[in-house]
């Protein structure tokens, strides 16, 4: 049985060209970029070039890119680093109820450290409201962290409006752009973004790589100590082959972004159409027109996440839900809870399908017909 991957928002397969870019570096470039000899300089050149690509991809400058081991670390650095460095200016931080756990759990940690955190609500469309933010802002606010695109629903947040609003406020603006980066053109300058998180493996790059954009002049502390790497903001010898792969993935993404949007959007449409034609009842969580192309979060009335996902997997379909169910502990999706309330059944009957490089028109159709069969069997 052909296994079909519909979970690209969790992680995406590496592009062959990324592997090809990394391989020679792993074979021949072993120097430490900080070393002051030819081996070190050779590695350093790769690093500098990658940094330039990263900067260009979001209209930033090279010195504003801090390589990390991924999105979670970048989010931690943004929140904790800014909070610690700016506590003389205030102790209030604003984020949202639907952030990725990398932000949400970090905010909870800061709360324990004495910071005052406001979690903005999310409306039924899965979006934060700019007026709520206006209301929440105080003279004490030092940081606002709102994700660019929600990872469960794919809903695009009003980032530009938030950036605009904060231009006249002391608070820095951080956005987790892990899901947005591969699908939306980002201009940090224009959008008023001070800190921005990007991850490599979501855009077909290697795992273990990401960066935090830190705008010039942002006051931030490091979370770890050691060497001078990343201008002391993230000490530790750089993962050069990984960063080179990440760079290749970014380059490919920049060239192909519009094409990918089109293709993945087609897959999503095709998939949902196929479900409907097979007589499956479902509802879209969020608003299709405001979501990024690859993500469809669908609610299947009368079904339950555990049974759906297990059956999907036994039938070779890989998808996921926001509800974490490691070791059998069901935590209803905090994102859908934020949108619809804790007791809405959508929090326990919804699946996220995310399309990408693994897919073809054929396997999307095949997946939809398998999914339809299972949903009908479980809800009849």
């Amino acid at each position: 049985m052909e296994t079909i991957y519909l979970d690209h928002a969790a992680t995406a397969p590496m592009d062959q060209r990324v592997v090809e870019a990394m391989t020679p570096v792993m074979m021949d470039v072993f120097g430490n970029p900080s070393s002051v000899h030819s081996f070190g300089r050779k590695a350093r050149r790769y690093l500098d070039e990658a940094r330039r690509t990263m900067a260009k991809s979001i209209q930033a400058s090279e010195k504003e890119i801090v390589f990390t081991n991924g999105g979670t670390e970048a989010d931690n650095l943004a929140l904790i680093g800014v909070a610690q460095a700016n506590k003389d200016k205030g102790n209030h931080i604003i984020t949202t109820a639907q952030e990725h756990h990398a932000v949400l759990h970090t905010a909870e940690y800061l709360e324990q450290q004495g910071f005052d955190i406001t979690y903005l609500p999310v409306d039924e469309t899965g979006s934060v409201n700019i007026d709520d933010l206006k209301e929440a802002l105080t003279d004490e606010t030092i940081l606002v962290s709102v994700m660019y695109v929600n990872n469960e629903t794919g809903m695009i947040q009003p980032v530009e409006a938030i950036g605009n609003l904060l231009k006249d406020h002391q608070a820095y603006f951080h956005t987790d752009a892990v899901q947005a980066f591969g699908m939306l053109a980002i201009d940090v300058e224009k959008f008023g973004i001070d800190l921005l998180t990007v991850s490599s493996h979501k855009i077909n790059g290697p795992k273990g790589n990401g960066f935090l954009y830190v705008s010039n002049g942002v006051n931030i502390e490091a979370l770890q100590f050691g060497g001078e790497q990343e201008r002391k903001r993230r000490p530790g010898t750089e993962n050069v082959p990984g960063i080179v792969g990440f760079q290749k993935a970014v380059e490919l993404m920049m060239t192909d972004r519009e094409q990918r949007k089109q293709t993945y959007g087609d897959y999503k449409e095709q998939f949902m159409k196929q479900l409907s034609e097979n007589g499956v009842t479902y509802e879209v969580n969020g608003v299709l027109e405001h979501s990024i192309a690859p993500i469809a979060n669908l609610s299947f009335p009368g079904a339950n996440v555990e049974l759906l996902l297990t059956n999907f997997d036994l039938d070779g379909i890989a998808a996921s839900s926001g509800s974490a169910c490691t070791a059998g502990s069901i935590e209803p999706s905090h994102v859908l809870s934020a949108m619809y309330g804790d007791n809405d059944e959508r929090t326990t009957n919804s699946i996220r399908f995310s399309f990408g490089a693994f897919n073809t028109h054929e396997n999307v159709i095949e997946a939809a017909s398998r999914v339809a069969k299972i949903v009908k069997r479980l809800t009849d």
Partner: protein
């Protein structure tokens, strides 16, 4: 029509222990389409956010990866609370000694979990219990496990024939030592893992402390049946019939034992001597009777167990009008305890069982037992 083994899906309930690990291994080796599922029935997350279920699940994951089978988890916390734990507390409130494992098998493992397995397209559900299923002309009988010391049919007495038709017990014909040996031979990560002891949701914790989190303890007097005060008890729910430990009655002579309870007056009855006559009875009444196969023509003779790991005793069973049965013992029995199961056997075949309600001696209901 029998399906090929490779097309026969068997869902194995895996706890992260050696028994269910080996059950999965044996089925996989036989060529079945094996799926491992971890059941989470109880949330024991402590104040540090640590939960033993996470470690157990981790063991399930590692074993399944060793075997190359898919693994999943399912949560029955709500069902367990409603069907098993509520019953457990209610029985203690009534002064009885419940058997949550019997209830868990009846309501969770072989009902909710079985349904779950079936909705995953399973043909069979397998567990690591020490018991055997035998097909006999289209009837499914449950036999004792081959390992006398591990036989678990006592806990499975509420299973029905239609359930047994869908169940496999791969360890049924093995001894525990053989199971450990198989696990070692295959280098399973659970090969030397300690067996879990006690009631699953209490685990290694102090039983008294656990119970006091849920039921208010009402200390009261300890008396002999003749009315002589012998001290104080911590709450009737902490004691079971025949218990010696924790009474704290000093003095000379033979040790003291719990012989009964008076719920209305909150008095614990005690008696001196292991073989105290007050601990003995000659028959009992049981309810919640389940006959696994056909209801035997009554009255009839068979053997019975009144506690887990007890030797069988000869009994005579008679139907009563209210759906209960009267069980007469060939020889007097010590410390028959209301709330515990009475389980019937014909040779190695487990016939079924029920819950002990009343204890009788010389045609008198022993009200003091509970």
């Amino acid at each position: 029509m029998m399906k090929d083994k490779q097309d026969t899906r068997v869902v194995v309930g895996m706890s992260g222990g050696v028994d269910s690990s080996v059950a999965a291994l044996l089925l996989k080796e036989e060529g079945y389409d094996v799926v491992g599922i971890f059941m989470k029935n109880w949330d024991d997350t402590d104040e540090n956010g640590v939960c033993t279920a996470t470690d157990d699940y981790d063991d399930v994951v590692r074993v399944c990866n060793q075997l190359g089978i898919p693994y999943f988890a399912v949560n029955f916390e709500k069902q367990y609370w409603d069907k098993v734990f509520t019953y457990f507390l209610d029985e203690y409130k009534r002064g009885r000694t419940p058997n949550p494992d019997v209830m868990c098998n009846k309501e969770i493992k072989f009902k909710a979990f079985l349904e779950h397995a079936m909705s995953l397209g399973a043909d069979y559900l397998a567990t690591g219990h020490y018991a055997q299923v035998r097909e006999n002309n289209g009837n499914y009988e449950m036999l004792r496990g081959a390992d006398d010391n591990k036989d678990q049919t006592y806990f499975l007495n509420q299973l029905t024939e239609d359930v047994l038709a869908k169940v496999m017990f791969p360890l049924g014909d093995l001894n525990k030592s053989e199971v450990r040996e198989i696990a070692r031979e295959h280098d399973l990560v659970t090969a030397t893992k300690k067996d879990s002891t006690g009631i699953c949701f209490i685990g290694e914790r102090n039983f008294k402390e656990f119970l006091s989190d849920y039921l208010p303890a009402q200390p009261g007097l300890m008396k002999t049946l003749e009315g002589v005060e012998k001290g104080r008890h911590d709450g009737l729910m902490y004691y079971t019939i025949g218990q010696r430990q924790g009474l704290g009655i000093g003095g000379s002579g033979e040790p003291w034992f719990v012989v009964g309870k008076n719920l209305d007056e909150n008095v614990l009855y005690v008696g001196q001597g292991f073989d105290n006559n007050q601990l003995y009875s000659d028959s009992l009444v049981a309810s919640e009777i389940n006959w696994i196969n056909n209801t035997p023509h009554q009255p009839f003779s068979c053997t019975a167990k009144f506690r887990y790991r007890q030797k069988d005793s000869a009994v005579n069973v008679t139907n009563m009008e209210n759906g209960k049965v009267h069980v007469e013992f060939a020889e007097k029995q010590r410390a028959i305890t209301p709330g515990q199961a009475v389980v019937f056997y014909d040779g190695d075949v487990c016939l079924g069982g029920g819950t002990i309600d009343d204890v009788i001696k010389d045609k008198d209901y022993l009200d003091y037992v509970g």
